[in-house]
Symmetry: C2
Subunit: 335 residues, 2 copies
């Protein structure tokens, strides 16, 4: 490997001078600078990041830990956002997918420490609560799409309530008064929050909450759309059926579409549908294109880096901040 020493020798200067040029210090004669630069070019020399770190203590590295984000067809956007923001600030991302294995998680954090990462971002696939205790106290850590049981770590989460409210209001604004909600059966922030938003929107329009219009689909993933199909079918067969349906996510909206078609109804003329997540590959391609709420994953990843860099506050009034991200409406043609 080419070293600074070799460059110095060839340029006929000391390594200190090369170092100065490298770090753009002032007080280097222009001619010397040029000479050194040309040798660097000629040798295609690049200073070793490791050696540099040894002296400066700045690794320029950020650890990006996930449970299974990278295995998810949409939340991977959080990685793209973080990577881009990191890159723009001269930082590099270590990607570590733990597959939700606690042992791997512990080892992963240790590996991050070995490499002296300047910060850790921990992102989860689903919005949920996690144990904070696993993270080292001496490395700034940001939680994305999750939050610590004891709120001891700053976090970035989507505004589920606001999203649920927006989805419902969209239907309301289009004149719908009987609005069904196909939710998933889990005590998690997403289903709980979106339901709360649904109730709030209804309330703000003075519409009483009708339990019968809210249906629950069991996890898991497999056959989610099919279960939704059944729910929506039965919703549509009510004596006073809904004319608008809010689906917990886009995949489920797929099942809702089938049910509406099966009932010989049209979207959006007879039944309007709103989804959640904005999975482009689905929402933009189905017919008619799905109006949905976007989970701002890209922005969440970006914000995490900016917090780590100190551009956005991590602590306020002595308490770790929780940034609640707005989930915008993506208007297509299903409402």
């Amino acid at each position: 490997m080419t070293t600074i020493k070799e460059v110095a020798r060839r340029a006929g200067v000391s390594i200190r001078t090369v170092s100065r040029v490298l770090n753009e210090h002032p007080h280097v004669a222009a001619a010397t600078r040029e000479r050194v630069l040309s040798v660097i070019e000629e040798l295609d020399f690049r200073p070793s990041a490791a050696a540099r770190y040894m002296r400066t203590g700045q690794s320029q590295l950020i650890g990006f830990l996930t449970d299974e984000v990278a295995q998810n067809a949409f939340s991977y956007e959080v990685i793209v956002g973080a990577q881009q923001a990191a890159w723009e600030n001269g930082k590099l991302l270590f990607l570590l997918n733990t597959g939700n294995d606690p042992q791997v998680e512990v080892r992963a954090i240790n590996v991050m420490r070995d490499h002296q990462v300047e910060g850790i971002i921990y992102a989860t696939m689903y919005h949920r609560e996690i144990k904070h205790s696993q993270f080292p106290a001496d490395i700034p850590t940001i939680l994305v799409n999750c939050f610590a049981d004891d709120r001891s770590l700053p976090s970035i989460v989507p505004d589920e309530i606001g999203g649920g409210r927006l989805a419902t209001e969209t239907l309301l604004r289009h004149g719908h008064r009987r609005i069904g909600f196909v939710n998933v059966a889990a005590q998690e922030p997403a289903p709980l929050g979106r339901l709360e938003g649904y109730r709030q929107a209804l309330a703000s329009y003075g519409i009483p909450f009708d339990e019968d219009l809210v249906r629950y689909v069991e996890e898991p993933f497999e056959g989610l759309a099919t279960s939704t199909y059944d729910c929506v079918l039965s919703l549509l067969q009510m004596s006073d059926p809904p004319t608008g349906i809010f689906c917990f996510n886009d995949m489920m909206a797929l099942g809702a579409y089938d049910a509406v078609r099966k009932s010989n109804l049209r979207i959006p003329e007879d039944v309007a549908i709103v989804g959640f997540d904005n999975v482009e590959i689905l929402a933009a391609q189905i017919h008619p294109p799905l109006t949905t709420i976007e989970l701002p994953y890209f922005e969440m990843g970006q914000l995490a880096i900016r917090m780590l860099l100190g551009e956005v506050e991590m602590v306020r009034d002595g308490r770790p901040v929780q940034h609640v991200m707005e989930c915008p409406l993506i208007v297509r043609k299903s409402v």
Copy 2:
């Protein structure tokens, strides 16, 4: 930060002894070992990866460069596969998404060099040819889902022809003799290869190639499914319409489904459909679930690492190897 020196001091031994324990050298008295280990534990000491690299020259780092893979709803699996294989071998992945900007690409490669990565994996979103010249000759590089113009770099690509053949044969095996193919209009390995596979399968069954059964949809992404809808509709209105349709990808199959339904036909009873890509979120959720060909992204990422580690050959007969990955059939219910 805790250093090896501090550990040595506390354990009352020399640095050398701590280093021996750290590296599991033999010739350390059990008692000494225990003592050192307990101090390490107590101090929660972890040796610095950078310092270690300085001496050993082994960075244990692998650079993972992509054009826009991480922005793609399905090919990100290649990252997961690589990350997992790397992790199992004690390597760490640097993720760098260039967004297809050549300038960023050059800088990214330089950054990889700065960090002395032991290898580079370059993965593209679409199967295509790339210029090889941008890669440093002194770092082992593997191309994934792409190949070098001059074949000077080892690569891993999916078997488009085999996949196209398999898709078509699946239809053939179910008795279909009039088989439509909705392809995309581009001179790229994927559309070209899949078409070739389609022809081969037909030929092997002694069925003449009918140009009229092959339709082309214009890129781009937007409205792909809608364009497919039109194609399939016209296919179905032929005097001698196909009873089986092979779609270039799953998203397009979505449009095909709509067209079949619109024609009051059933899947698979009246018209069978095969997709390509196996985008789970689509294929497993639509009704009926889509039979499709899988692009083995996970395995491709995994293989890239194994090649870099020397477990799989990169060169044969003095020429860089191109691994052509089989694309398996995923049987669901649309055939």
